[in-house]
């Protein structure tokens, strides 16, 4: 486990027990603490690795800042109640904090394979990050899929996790390579039976599916992520068929069948700059009509056909997201933005820095399912493996892999003093490449969204915990960072 010396924050501080009685020992700051200005000279005090927060005035900020500098003015707390309060939250005189940094070393041994089955697509979404359908279609062969499954099963047999995982994803619509999808699924099940391992499967789909395929997915796949932009009028401007026709009625039919079968699925919404104002109503439309497990909302990615779109990474997006969250709460739901995830303590945003194993139709290994083309300008950074001849298995470029592994928030100077870093994990590496290039990360429009929405979550937690403070330090989610770091975003 690495120490925190690189971040310049006081952590893993040795506890200095205060003595009771006539002489009061100076308290010692024992947490990484941030202060965020609110309205009216109030401050949100947040200790991410304690999962603790409260709202105070500048006097408290001054006391904490003094303590961080090794100064203690006893007159600032004449009755000792402030120190008692801060000790209760383990901000003072607490045990060392956990350092939420994990990473992979050596040869990659993934137990999850993402199969990017095809570049073909039955839609021509105006913002498609993969520009699906614009180039001659490439389809994954069953042999390629089997090789990938064999690799993760072999790893799983050594590591003995409860299950291995096969995820079907795009670069196109995976259901358009139906034969390989179903045959590879059968193969994975057969492997699960042979080895006694469990099998989890998931699919990311545009939801334009035949009845037969919907039924098959319900019967066989563990969970699905369906791209759906909400109000049909919004969806049908953006997610159109090859001939430019509307697709919302087809997606709605899929969602209804999923709901009827109590099938687990999430909805993935993309918001364009022009569509921001409709977001609250779109979220309400979804909440009123469907039963997804999750609703994830992202501003449009300026990649592929989205390159040249007006950015939706704006204050207007944040305001619309907040309004949409209020609508969702009326239905007992919550909406999510991928980089705002209070409760997660990690140095990773996603599995791209944890040996994510995604296979392109040609069988090459990329760390990111969004970087699904070998022609991508960032392919030399994201592709790190290739099929190893006829024998099966893969050969890996460990130099590239180790570079990917190093794309973590604890190594980013830009993020060093950001309160949200341990929950956002540095956000999406691929998008940072597109935004900043391959050099040092210098921030992105998504950062402000993540910070504002994370702040909302902290305030909501304080309000939901009685209004005075939030302290969740001993519950899973704090101190269980290594496990949470495994979390894979859809």
């Amino acid at each position: 486990m690495e120490g925190p010396s690189g971040c310049g924050m006081p952590s893993a501080v040795q506890a200095v027990p205060a003595k009771e009685g006539a002489f009061r020992a100076a308290p010692s700051l024992s947490a990484e603490v941030y202060s965020l200005p609110l309205e009216g000279s109030r401050y949100l005090i947040y200790a991410p690795r304690r999962c603790a927060a409260f709202i105070a005035d500048a006097g408290v900020v001054r006391v904490l800042a003094d303590l961080e500098a090794g100064l203690w003015d006893e007159s600032a707390d004449p009755d000792g109640s402030l120190v008692k309060f801060l000790r209760s939250l383990e901000i003072l005189d607490g045990p060392p904090e956990i350092w939420p940094v994990t990473g992979c070393t050596g040869d990659p041994q993934p137990v999850c394979v993402t199969l990017l089955l095809t570049t073909a697509c039955n839609l021509r979404c105006t913002y498609c990050y993969a520009s699906a359908g614009e180039t001659p279609a490439r389809h994954m062969s069953l042999e390629t899929a089997r090789r990938g499954i064999d690799f993760v099963v072999s790893n799983a047999r050594k590591q003995k996790p409860p299950h291995f995982e096969v995820a079907y994803h795009g670069g196109g619509e995976p259901a358009l390579n139906w034969r390989v999808l179903t045959a590879s699924f059968d193969y994975a099940r057969q492997k699960a039976t042979q080895t006694g391992l469990g099998l989890r499967t998931s699919i990311a789909t545009n939801g334009v599916l035949t009845d037969h395929r919907i039924d098959w997915i319900i019967a066989n796949v563990s969970a699905a992520s369906v791209s759906f932009d909400g109000l049909p009028a919004v969806h049908d401007q953006l997610r159109v068929t090859k001939s430019g026709k509307a697709s919302s009625h087809r997606v709605i039919q899929t969602l209804r069948r999923f709901d009827q079968a109590h099938f687990r699925y999430g909805i993935r919404m993309t918001v364009t700059a022009a569509g921001i104002s409709a977001l609250p109503e779109s979220v309400e439309f979804i909440c009123a009509n469907f039963q997804p497990d999750s609703i994830q909302i992202e501003p449009v990615y300026l990649l592929g056909r989205g390159h040249g779109e007006a950015s939706a990474e704006s204050d207007e997006f944040i305001a619309a997201f907040r309004a949409a969250q209020q609508r969702a709460l009326h239905y007992g739901r919550r909406i999510a933005f991928s980089a705002a995830r209070l409760g997660t303590l990690t140095n990773h945003f996603c599995a791209a820095s944890r040996d994510s194993f995604c296979l392109t139709p040609d069988g090459n290994v990329t760390a990111c399912y969004e970087a699904c083309s070998e022609e991508s300008p960032w392919a030399s950074l994201l592709f790190y493996g290739w099929p190893d001849g006829q024998a099966g298995g893969y050969r890996f470029d460990l130099g590239r892999l180790n570079h990917l592994r190093s794309q973590t928030v604890d190594r980013r100077e830009h993020c060093r003093a950001c309160f949200a870093k341990w929950s956002c994990g540095g956000d999406c590496y691929y998008k940072s490449l597109v935004h900043n290039g391959p050099g040092e990360f210098a921030g992105a429009g998504r950062c402000r969204i993540a910070r504002e929405l994370t702040k909302d979550q902290i305030l909501a937690n304080i309000a939901g915990s009685g209004g005075l403070f939030w302290h969740n330090g001993r519950q899973p989610g704090c101190g269980q960072s290594a496990k949470l770091a495994e979390e894979k975003l859809p």
Partner: protein, 180 residues
């Protein structure tokens, strides 16, 4: 949006002159779509925080006990109708019996296979285990011995349930069948 380098550290704030005043704490309430703040004292807050910490400590101790209970993943838990006995099982192939709420472990019953699921009958006499070897085992709750093994499933048995009159047992397996 402008990409400013964030700096939320404590000393960076340009604090107003009021920072030398007595430190103050504020309670947060939602007022429609907005937040409302009202001043509170640290004494009340410290009592509440200490109580919450004590409660979490108690919770953590229970979690700690259960985390040490088995050497690998716990897949199945069942509690007797009188609420006084807990049976746990999982990947280490051992059924363990515990006193509730004390959490005292008083008996172990090794099994041949991973235990995926469990149920206890309404009389509190019979422990039913769904196992990784595709069988359902009926065990005596008093000593954990297997009284009967039911076969027929082609995959591990992931769920078992007993009807409220204790006369019907349902088992659900990875073979996608439910047997009664």
């Amino acid at each position: 949006m402008k990409d400013e380098k964030p700096d939320d550290r404590l000393p960076v704030l340009d604090l107003p002159s009021t920072s030398k005043t007595e430190p103050g704490l504020y309670a947060l309430e939602r007022d429609g779509a907005r937040w409302r703040l009202s001043r509170r004292d640290f004494l009340t807050a410290s009592v509440a925080a200490a109580a919450a910490a004590a409660s979490q400590t108690a919770h953590a101790q229970v979690v700690c006990t259960s985390a040490l209970a088995h050497t690998s993943a716990v897949r199945a838990l069942a509690i007797t109708p009188d609420g006084r006995t807990l049976a746990s099982g999982g990947d280490d192939k051992i059924v363990k019996f515990w006193k509730v709420p004390q959490g005292a472990h008083y008996k172990s019953a090794p099994q041949a296979e991973v235990i995926w699921s469990s149920a206890i009958d309404p009389e509190g006499q019979l422990l039913v285990l769904g196992c990784g070897d595709k069988t359902v085992k009926l065990c005596s709750l008093s000593d954990g011995t297997v009284a009967k093994t039911l076969t027929g499933h082609a995959e591990p048995v992931y769920a078992v349930a007993i009807s409220s009159d204790g006369r019907l047992l349902a088992s659900d397996s990875g073979d996608r069948t439910i047997r009664l």
